[in-house]
Amino acid sequence: MNRGRRVWVTVCAACAFGSAEASTGRYPGFGIDYGTAIQYDFASLRVPTPGGSVTTNGYFDITSDLHFRFGRNDEVWLSTEVSPVTTTRPGERRWLGGTGLTVADLHWYHQDEKDTWRLGKIDIPFGRAQSAAPGLYTGDFVAPYALGGMIGGTYERRFASDTLGTLAPSLSVYAADTSVLSRAYLRPSAQARRADGGATNTGKPNNVAAVLNWRAPAALPYMEVQLGFMANHKGETNAAHPTAANERLRTASVRYLIPIEPTTLLSPTLASRYVDVVPFVEYVRISNENGVPGYDTAYLTTSLTVDTGRIAWGLTHTNRRISLSGARRSNDYLTEGSVVYHLTGLVDVGLSGGRARQDGQTSHLVGVQIVLSGAF
């Protein structure tokens, strides 16, 4: 039995395990939380060819998060994504093409009173733009430093004081996933290999991220700060990747919640008249991005979210400055506006539209997303 099949058999066996009432009387027993995001995207890219052809790509992006609860403190988290796993060709007009299923996360999650650890295929808790900035596309744009799907572990411990608030330092060690979990399913695909190169692709947990999350100090109770450092070893060199260098990343971000005070009282809150404004700024500097020598980048994400009752309005701009040795500096960017409507307690509907410039090409994006959540 190969490793992938073993995983699925284990998951299926767990699903059949039983009901919430454990014979010891200790609740919870086995259970599942789920969250599913169904997103339809349409991207239009004008290719700089003599004919000025346009590439379009319409596709669904379905992410599912399953949390299998085994006890008070232990869970297995599984996140999957169904989305295109192949890229479009210049000038191609694609409709629901290239779709495959990937395993984004599969890890053991343990939570104690003051500390948390994860072990398995994990997201590295470095950078917040993916989750804190509004919109459907910023997450992909900042993916080069918001590392997901690494094999390794994360440990976090929380400290609190009346004046300083909550301080939560964490340490992660990891390597790029070259296991069977790195391939796409439902579509012929290759498993990642060491020979693919790239930072973190070392085959051993010798890459490290140290992050400090600081929340709710007494003087600024609605402030969230993150400071982080990440050091990733270079991958293999070969004919395809003749050079490589270690990657270094530093991040600092601030998010602040500014409530419109009269709307935070009980009656206006319940009546969906609550309003707050949430600015967010994140700066990330990367040396030798993805292990490419001399390829230095700096990301600056600024966003503003306005929550008005059941609707959240968002505007996000991310600038990516590229400094390549011996070449002129250039800038990529993504700007997107978004709106999310909390339709019911279990269903959110989101709409996002934006414009991006990457590698000298400009694209327009529009997407709609439905998020469903619940539990068994």
Binding site: S23, A160, D162, P259, L266, D307, R310
Partner: protein, 500 residues
């Protein structure tokens, strides 16, 4: 078991539009003792107009009312016929947490019995309270299923004798998550489609005569839901909130009951007609829950007009704690975990029953400021005690009386003054968010109240569970609080805890 089955089978069920029924009740005799047996068991019951197999007391989704009086005693047997642990908390009651008292640190195992003896002080505040499962990590599901019920402490009409002639109603509000399986959900999902009932009934009629005054005790004994209610635009007069009588006249056209809150109001019969009691849709913040609205009941005014009863007695007064000397100021931050939707913290910590987080000296009045940097409401509650809200978002709050639970604004704060002055509270108990999803997720901490001379030792013992151990008197030798009571209480001194 046969008796339970018969009870369930024989219970007459009401359809929408039927008259609101009174809950069945256990009441007290001349000696002031209420003997209660609660059988917790999985049972096929009617929830509104639908059948579900759920976890309920005494074979009925509409749990029995426990009636008592100030100075009375409740002797309760919890017969756990479930395959899971459970326990009981007597919400809002100012009784001892020691021994067989109101301690959430005691669980009753599957197919075992637990014993509770609650002795109410003679000055115990009258009004509506409630009992419910407080079994950590299972409380949300058990309460949502039905393991909660109302308590009424008589005596409000002693404060307002003119109310002796008015009809008193108990309106128990709850919601039940719908499932496709016909069984209680294994994991309660806040905001999911649910059945909202009053006394277990779906949209009952509440009869009143034009001009008639009725005293309604509204109890939110749901696990998570906020109830925002309107009675066809009519104003009602608030008599008490959380069984604490208000200190001045308060009227409102919007009845807001957070999870665990109670409200006693005077309702006056309008002109003949039908008037809906509506539950408005509610949203608890950008990161919170969304609940749909519905009609809970219909007030049916009919018959001959009768004179309206108006309050003429003075409102009972309690000390305004804004004038009290504050012995200590504390700060608590109620936070959602950033990357785990099922985890919630107070000051960065999840609940640990084996640790004490806060130690307080008996006799002190403390000021607590509760911050909520989350984008959703939290609902603070502390056991054994009432408190006064002195500020909301840093601004002075009007004083209308004490309470035992209060919302913490999303991205806001609330400041309380808490009198740790009644010796009956000596012992170990908890404070927490009463949105039970959050409580089960860890938003709860342990507090011990000790005699001043024991303070230093008690603080030293915090990491080991505090000076009271498991809240049994023998765990802390003779620290029953009796000495303190003897020194402060009127004779005869109140006995504590489990003495039969």
């Amino acid at each position: 078991m046969l008796l339970l089955a018969l009870t369930a089978a024989c219970t007459v069920r009401a359809a929408p539009g039927d008259e609101l029924r009174e809950p069945r009740q256990f009441t007290y005799g001349a000696d002031g003792v209420t003997e209660v047996t609660l059988v917790a068991a999985p049972t096929r019951v009617r929830v509104g107009d639908t059948s579900y197999t759920s976890l309920v007391f005494n074979g009925d989704y509409d749990a029995p009312l426990i009636r008592t009086r100030p100075g009375g005693t409740i002797r309760l047997t919890l017969d756990n016929r479930m395959d899971e642990l459970t326990n009981l908390h007597f919400h809002g009651m100012q009784v001892s947490p020691l021994d067989e008292g109101d301690s959430i640190f005691r669980d009753t195992g599957p197919h075992q019995s637990g014993r509770y003896v609650l002795r109410l002080p003679p000055e115990h505040s009258p009004g509506p309270y409630w009992y419910h499962s407080h079994f950590h990590r299972g409380a949300e599901r058990q309460v949502s299923g039905g393991l909660s019920g109302p308590i009424l402490v008589d005596g409000l009409t002693n404060q307002f004798p003119e109310l002796r002639q008015v009809r008193e109603r108990v309106l128990v509000l709850r919601n039940f998550q719908k499932t496709f399986t016909g069984r209680l959900a294994s994991e309660i999902v806040t905001g999911s489609p649910s059945i909202r009932t009053i006394n277990g009934q779906l949209r009952p009629d509440i009869a009143i005569r034009p001009g008639e005054t009725q005293l309604w005790h509204l109890l939110n004994i749901a696990a998570n839901q906020y109830f925002r209610m309107h009675l066809a635009g009519m104003r009602v007069q608030v008599i008490s909130q959380d069984a604490d009588t208000v200190v001045k006249e308060v009227t409102t056209d919007e009845m807001l009951l957070g999870p665990s809150a109670r409200l006693s109001v005077l309702v006056t019969g309008p002109a003949p007609g039908r008037y809906p009691l509506t539950l408005s849709a509610a949203n608890t913040g950008p990161a919170g829950d969304t609940y749909g609205g519905t009609t809970l009941a219909t007030l049916v005014s009919a018959g001959d007009a009768v004179p309206t009863v108006r309050l003429s007695s003075p409102y009972p007064q309690v000390p305004d704690l804004r004038q009290a000397r504050v012995a200590a100021e504390r700060r608590y931050v109620f936070q959602d975990a950033e990357d785990d939707p099922n985890t919630f913290y107070i000051n960065g910590r999840r609940f640990d029953a084996s640790r004490v987080d806060t130690t307080v000296k008996l006799g002190d009045v403390e000021e607590w400021t509760l911050f909520n940097p989350s984008q959703e409401l939290h609902q603070f509650h502390i056991h054994q005690l009432d408190f006064q809200v002195v500020k909301v978002n840093g601004k002075p709050a009007d004083f209308i009386g004490y309470r035992d639970n209060v919302f913490i604004p999303a991205t806001g704060s609330i400041t309380l003054r808490i009198p740790f002055t009644d010796p009956v509270i000596l012992g170990k108990f908890v404070y927490h968010c009463h949105i039970m999803e959050h409580e089960d997720g860890g938003m709860m901490q342990v507090i011990q109240v000790v005699k001043p001379e024991d303070y230093a030792q008690a603080v030293t013992l915090e990491p080991l569970g505090g000076i009271y151990g498991d809240n049994q008197t023998c765990a802390y030798l003779r620290n029953t609080g009796k000495d303190a009571i003897d020194a402060t209480a009127p004779a005869p001194a109140r006995p504590l805890g489990g003495a039969p």
